[in-house]
């Protein structure tokens, strides 16, 4: 199965996960300082900055895009409860 390596920069931990895993699943297990609200991509609580490897992330859905925009998120931000890692090396600010 293809793997992705997700590095949590503040924690200093890299987790190697199966492709298709959502960031929320990993962040909750490593104890990153991210909080979740709706867990359904609607509230914007879980905005997370991707510092590198955005090209290895799943595409933003229309709804995710909208929620990110409403929260004035930047280009490198994603909703951790929605975004999936598809492979390669990804770093997040958490």
């Amino acid at each position: 199965m293809p793997k992705a390596n997700v590095t949590f920069e503040k924690l200093g931990i890299t987790v190697s996960v199966p492709a298709g895993t959502r960031l929320i699943e990993i962040s909750e297990k490593v104890g990153a300082s991210i909080t979740y609200g709706c867990r359904e991509g609607e509230c914007g609580t879980c905005i997370m900055k991707i510092t590198s490897g955005m090209e290895y992330m799943s595409e933003r859905s229309v709804l995710e895009n909208q929620v990110l925009q409403d929260n004035m998120a930047g280009r490198n931000d994603r909703l951790a409860c929605q975004a999936q890692v598809l492979g390669g090396d990804i770093s997040v600010k958490a």
Binding site: N5, K10, L11, G12, I13, T14, V15, S16, V17, P18, T21, I26, K29, V30, G31, A32, S33, I34, T35
Partner: protein, 423 residues
């Protein structure tokens, strides 16, 4: 004695034109004031223009305009500076802009969004300024210093160079209402100055230190804040006080490179206390970590929040009673609103009778405060067994290793991660 609506000259050509709000007892819900506050606004006259620095809360506009009209005509106003867009300072801005349409408005970059929410006018014209930018009034110059997060993203300070007056916005301000205005004439306002810092500026301590680097080199004859007394007697002492309040003290006590881990617990039958002891012993096995253990039972008014402000990590032990952590724990956690805790390390443990919800609740709250919670908490039913105390010991050890960075740059797999989080 000044009549209520007179402008007050603070130095030649510069007047206080603010408003007094002696009846106010509660500011923004969270702040108390025993004698009200002032919304300070200032008018600076130069050879080629007049500047208005900040305005007042909308409800006090009449007072502000009455004072302004004594020292300037609206068509003379060339410049309006807003150091901070919160409504207590921007309330009279829309009306001022209507009365002085030729005046140019100067704000910080971050203030734009707030300005647009405040003045719903698509034609709105303003100039963004940052540190080093200046505006001339002919023989007088206003110089801007961007001091973000003191206490909003938009905050800035403005220096009247020739007179060495710093219009500092909320910085160096306080909620204290006294018509005598100047710090050498008003009543004793020391408490209000400290209280304002503790509640408004303290959460942004790191930003205070950055701003002080900009402001400390200035020669200042007078500090004109947006609330409370105008500081003309020993203005530097207030800058120094901010430096003291914002400077970390813990490095004087422990090695500069040592990490501080605080363990707080409360225990009804001694079970959670035993677990706390084990966490502490586990953490102490790691060199470079200074561990402190506190019983919240004795807490109450103890200044734990001061200790936490400088700590690198906190671990909280609570029994679960009626499906919840106990009140002293929530009191401690809610007191953290006045300090910056994000990115500190957090953890939880505790004993329980029927169910151990407290641990998850504490962990969630810690994450909500943006602490990192890298090690799953430990719960024990009633009297902790040797194996459970061992897990507490390990919790302490793991947290300490995280603090020293010994666990950094690890690569682990999702399955290991799942195995470690025993739930």
């Amino acid at each position: 004695m000044k009549t209520a609506l007179e402008a007050v000259e603070i130095t030649p050509g510069t007047h206080w034109i603010g408003a007094l709000d002696p009846g106010l007892r509660e500011f923004d819900i969270i702040l108390k004031t025993a004698n009200g506050t002032t919304y300070n606004s200032y008018c600076v006259r130069g050879s080629q223009g007049v500047a208005v620095i900040d305005t007042v809360k909308a409800s006090h506009s009449d007072e502000f305009f009455a004072r302004l009209e004594q020292v300037a005509r609206y068509d003379e106003i060339s410049t309006i500076v807003l150091n901070h867009l919160e409504p207590d300072h921007s309330g009279a801005l829309p009306e001022l802009m209507r009365r002085a349409p030729q005046a140019k408005l100067y704000i910080s970059a971050k203030a734009q969004l707030m300005l647009k929410a405040l003045v719903r006018d698509s034609e709105l014209d303003f100039t963004i300024v940052q540190t080093g930018d200046t505006v001339t009034l002919g023989d007088r110059t206003l110089r801007f210093f961007s001091t973000p997060f003191l206490h909003w993203p938009d905050t800035q300070c403005t220096l009247l160079e020739e007179q060495q007056i710093l219009f500092s916005g909320d910085v160096f301000g306080c909620h204290f209402c006294d018509a005598r205005l100047f710090n050498d004439r008003v009543g004793d306002f020391r408490f209000s100055f400290e209280y304002y810092y503790q509640h408004i500026m303290r959460p942004f301590r790191e930003h205070v230190l950055v701003a002080l680097e900009l402001l400390e080199p200035l020669t200042l004859k007078l500090i004109a804040p947006a609330h409370g007394p105008i500081l003309r007697e020993a203005p530097r002492s207030y800058v120094q006080r901010y430096r003291q309040l914002a400077s970390p003290l813990l490095p004087n006590e422990i090695g500069a490179h040592d990490k501080s881990l605080l363990i707080f617990y409360i225990s009804s039958y001694g079970n959670t206390a035993r677990m706390a002891q084990a966490v502490s012993e586990g953490a102490e096995t790691i060199a470079g970590v200074r561990v402190s253990l506190y019983d919240l039972q004795a807490g109450g008014d103890l200044p734990f929040v001061d200790l936490i402000e400088e700590a690198d990590g906190i671990v909280i032990g609570s029994p679960t009673i009626n499906g919840d952590a106990v009140k002293p724990v929530w009191d401690l956690l809610s007191s953290l609103a006045v300090i910056k805790v994000s990115d500190k390390l957090g953890g939880a443990f505790g004993s329980y009778g029927w169910s151990g919800e407290a641990i998850n609740m504490i962990e969630d709250r810690l994450r909500g405060l943006k602490l990192r919670v890298p090690v799953k908490g430990v719960r024990a039913r009633l009297i902790p067994a040797a194996e459970e105390l061992e897990r507490c010991h390990d919790l302490g050890r793991q947290l300490a290793l995280h603090l020293t960075g010994s666990l950094a740059n690890r690569v682990i797999s999702m399955s290991e991660l799942l195995a470690n989080s025993h739930e």
